[in-house]
Symmetry: C2
Subunit: 145 residues, 2 copies
DNA sequence: CCTTCAAATGCAAATCATTTGCAAAAATTT
DNA sequence: AAATTTTTGCAAATGATTTGCATTTGAAGG
């Protein structure tokens, strides 16, 4: 997997690289603190404010997207390419929707509303197959909660 | 416009009614503080914590949706029916997408990922027609920034 | 109407994610 | 390796949201 190139004028630090690498590896967008903790675990020295500052910069450069998931009030950060996802309400598992269906709508929206469309973000939530089967097992053994 | 019915066990207070009415009247999802200020202006006595507490309750009951817009870090609250919108990056105008195109995708997502889909939220951002024409006027008179 | 009791409110204080100032450390450039 | 600029860490500040508690209000019954 090709490394992401830093924008002009920014220095390559081990903290910055580690953050980007972690975002590349992870499917789901992460909380700033998760990133901080995961990297600490891996033995990388950094501070939480470094994480925030880097995410901020990367977001402004368009490399990273910041989003709040349903029923959460901490921001999540992910690579811009992983912007549309399915979230399991039970186990919080996240699945990227990679062939994003949005393009088809774009035309329609432009026509109807006259907007120039710059971007979008789609969050879909539901129950993943695993949690679904767990649930149905439960309701078989004990009919009522 | 029919008033929204409160869930069982909750009392009708003037603050609560005013909040719901304001949300009904407004197209765009609002910040808690906007709600507080607008209602104060109208002469309704309430506190910010009352606003938060009500929005919280309404959200848990599914009547209200809480969402963070791009580049904002305060939550917005709107009626569940006004969940999908277009946001102008320039003037922050919000336009509801009322014939939501999502249903068409649902099938596809269910098939591909096996999720039970419970809900979704779509945010699209761009430049509205008004801001667009303002911009092109500017660039005509003074070619380069 | 008057009483009762749960639910709702206001206020002030607490919480918690995120931001910021500043001095020290690390990366480029010369 | 010295000079210059960016980045970092730490501690303190900020700002939205939440919470504890005493008081008020709404609904139900008499």
């Amino acid at each position: 997997m090709a490394n992401i190139k830093l924008p002009e004028g920014y220095k390559t630090t081990k903290q910055r690289q580690a953050i980007l690498k972690l975002l590349e590896e992870n499917i789901a967008p992460m909380h700033a603190e998760d990133i901080y903790l995961k990297l600490k675990e891996k033995g990388i020295e950094l501070s939480l404010s470094t994480v925030y500052r880097n995410l901020d910069m990367l977001q402004q450069k368009g490399l990273v997207v910041k989003a709040y998931m349903l029923n959460e009030d901490k921001a999540r950060f992910g690579l811009a390419s992983k912007k549309n996802y399915l979230v399991c309400q039970e186990c919080k598992k996240i699945v990227i929707i990679d062939n994003c269906p949005f393009e088809k709508f774009k035309e329609e929206l432009i026509e109807v509303h006259g907007f120039d469309i710059l971007g979008h973000s789609i969050e879909v939530y539901g129950i993943c197959p695993e949690c679904k089967s767990k649930k149905s097992q439960n309701s078989e053994s004990s009919q009522n909660k």
